[in-house]
Chain length 284, copies 4
């Protein structure tokens, strides 16, 4: 398939939105290969995701945004435009667990994740060999309560310098300050090792064990100021039994964490997720 453009449009519902967007593409000789339109019954929000082939499209790539803008403005639509062959720059944050990091770097290497992994950031030096095996720069910023603010500032500078557009917290065990979070709204994805909203905070597998649940879960969500409270992108669960110790739950959980995080990252990178309040709309 040739390169495609994807437009993700949302706003308050009104008549003619689908037609106007489709006409914009059709009148410029675009061929729509996929389009999905949904109106949320609760909020009246409309969402459209439309993808068309660039080959033969009469507007040149750099001019598409400017051409579409007046139409969007007239209808008070919020929108994003993406091209399938342009890759977002991603930073992966880790602490000491390696399973999610390996998983993301392997998927990236196999072509599953359309992005550039610009760098890996950690508060520990332990996972440097993993990053090096995949030829990705690795930066260490040790964090203490006293240095957190200062170190975050240095991290932000580094992220900016690399043009990072998405931060993936691949079992990064530090909590960010609200100031840091505010810099990457709906562009920082965390994996929490429970089926949220059950077992918020530290030690979710221990909590799950003590409550005696029969399924454990993992949840991938955008980071907001409130811990483990951001819009959920993806979740999954796995069966456990009384034979499983807390260590078994952690082992089984690792398989969940890496798959759920990877799915969320992939959905985000393909511009299939729109966060709205505490919910997400996911166009699969």
């Amino acid at each position: 398939m040739s390169a495609t453009a994807t437009m993700f449009v949302s706003g308050p519902d009104q008549r003619g939105l689908v037609a106007r967007i489709a006409n914009f593409i059709f009148e410029n000789n675009g061929n729509i290969v996929h389009s999905d339109h949904h109106i949320d019954a609760e909020t009246g929000l409309f969402l459209t995701r439309v993808e068309w082939e660039l080959e033969g499209f009469r507007i040149s790539r750099p001019e598409i945004a400017a051409s579409f803008a007046p139409l969007a403005e007239g209808m008070k639509m919020t929108w994003e435009l993406h091209f399938s062959d342009e890759r977002q720059r991603v930073a992966i944050f880790v602490s000491k667990y390696d399973h999610c990091l390996y998983d993301l770097l392997l998927r990236h290497a196999s072509g599953e994740l359309r992005c550039q992994v610009a760098l890996v950031v950690s508060n520990h030096p332990d996972l440097r060999p993993v990053a090096e095996h995949f030829r990705v720069p690795y930066h260490v910023f040790p964090i203490t309560a006293a240095t957190k603010q200062e170190q975050e500032a240095r991290e932000l500078a580094l992220l900016q310098q690399h043009g990072v557009e998405l931060i993936v917290l691949a079992r990064y065990l530090q909590v960010f300050t609200p100031e840091f979070v505010a810099r990457y709204p709906n562009r920082m994805i965390n994996i929490h090792d429970s089926f949220l909203p059950a077992f918020v905070g530290a030690g979710p597998y221990k909590q799950a064990y003590e409550r005696g649940v029969k399924l454990i879960g993992a949840t991938s969500h955008y980071v907001t100021e409130r811990l483990d409270d951001g819009p959920i992108i993806e979740q999954d669960v796995m069966r456990v039994s009384h034979r499983d110790t807390v260590e078994d739950l952690k082992r089984k959980g690792r398989d969940l964490e890496r798959v759920v995080l990877a799915r969320a990252v992939r959905l985000h990178l393909e511009h299939r997720v729109l966060a709205y309040g505490r919910r997400t709309f996911v166009f699969e």
Copy 2:
């Protein structure tokens, strides 16, 4: 929500399809609440399912089809038009197992299935009390090899008389003649008690037990001339272990069968399924 119209359109891909359909609705003051457009990469087939509110639509309900026909013809599209408040007439065929029959009638009673259950047909009298409990007519047509053709003719006459548009085989253990099948192309839904294409034919749970599979399945599909070979609408599986006897597999399987059949019937009734060759496109 007020009543809606749903159009299901398919055909060979060409530029402008989405725009033309959306314009048809917009120009007549329709408000699209949901639309989904897909192009199948293998076949080049496009499929669009679009739903809009009838309230305020400028074309009166009986004239919509005639108004849309020229547009469709020009683009060589196959299409269907449905209204959310019109209910299809359904016949349920059963033999002696009652779990799928109860399940469908209960779902219908709870409003899950938008249809009229016109009648229940069986080759045995056993399930009459179930049909009567739900106040649905029950007709018995005993079948032997010698009488099959004749009985099918009588069944067809009865179905026609009731205006039946969809036949659901809810564990009906007779095989139909090709002549019967040809009368309800992609309008006869069967539930097979295995994960097709594994374990075609009789005694799938016994076959599954002997093969030692770790999951059993159920498959809902449109009936074609070839046994258990029609386009698959829905499938699901359940975990089993060496502790499960063939009887246990049958018991567990009943839970699969009723859920998988009900989902397929619901998808069909909501005009979300398009069969094409041996595959289906399901717009959820």
Copy 3:
């Protein structure tokens, strides 16, 4: 298979437990068809579930308990003895939702649940026709804040009169007083319409919708004094999306609720569940 005896033994771990229990059976010419022994690493609790054929067993059925008692006493074991052909007497409590009631009565009719359904109790008259269809007595006890205590006393008298050993709350929307709960410790099974401990209390599907979870769940648990807090017997989940309204979640949830409740009831009736603190041990 001929009738079997099942012994469920638990207590503080010590050497020789498995051997002594197995010897007791072997020396009396019993043939063990299934046995499962587990030591809980956290608590040091041992649990054994052993099942043997009664045919050829040298101790007559009424004397088995008395013969085993001294052995159990010496080892400080708690134990239960059950015979596969003796059926527990069960009361089902319902309000107005019919899906779990139908489900349990259908499974009972098909032989899935080894019990006698002694009666159905409700705070509303609505589901009488369902009970009558399955020929089960139906008793109505309307409940208000003012009459709850008095009505519970009458219910308890009725349960006692019917020799009820297990109460199944099949979407019974009243909360019991602690006094009532204390009468059926670990013998009252509830179905809660969420993945506990997420969404405790009223309106879990609304809560789930608002939190934007990607899976909904159902949880079957023993009832304790604290709402939705008792030991969990079984849980399961189902995928949902942003397209699902609260009504869709309720509809999908019904399929979860009935299956999860039925599994828990079956496990309890087959003496496969031991509650210990807030956890259960389930011997499948």
Copy 4:
């Protein structure tokens, strides 16, 4: 937990088996931490898996087998004895796909798989860097129809030299000769990229796509002379839709393959699997 001994015993059923085995352990002051006994209703085969603490056990480790042998002989039992701190030697065979190899080596590194990965064998040089990253020897044996027999002989010599007890085919795309297979009966584990017995042989994802299934699967099984026909150890499935191309099925399938293979290998290494005819008994 201290080291434990695990005995896996099977044979034709007879009275007293559980008692005799338990007594053997108890009389020698062993403490059973887990025991599971099952009689297969179809075949009359009994299976017992029992694990006890070695600490305090009166028979020294090297003499346990000789002490148990007479008892086993008298009862015509087949048996195996394993110690939790002794690790099997494993060879992993690969071709060019790296996902299962990475997965196994990562799980091994994290302590999930109790074994020694003695070497990686391949018919291609491509995955040498992966093996080297984990410091495992990598041997290449190019295979053609003409050289297969000779190369297999060299592989067997190498495996013998390394004392390999288990072969894991981690997407190794060569078929072995019956002579090779006969050398590792029930000790060679393959991952097949379909839900067997559906889609035997080459290109299962293509086959699945063309049949239009709604779930894809993966199957881990012991290798026998007949292709994809050996006893199944583990299976799992994943949902797909008409939007998924054959490439998407392959991508989704990779997640299944690695998890299903890893589970089977783990079960085998923990002596939880007994193959009997075309079925396996799995003691989880």
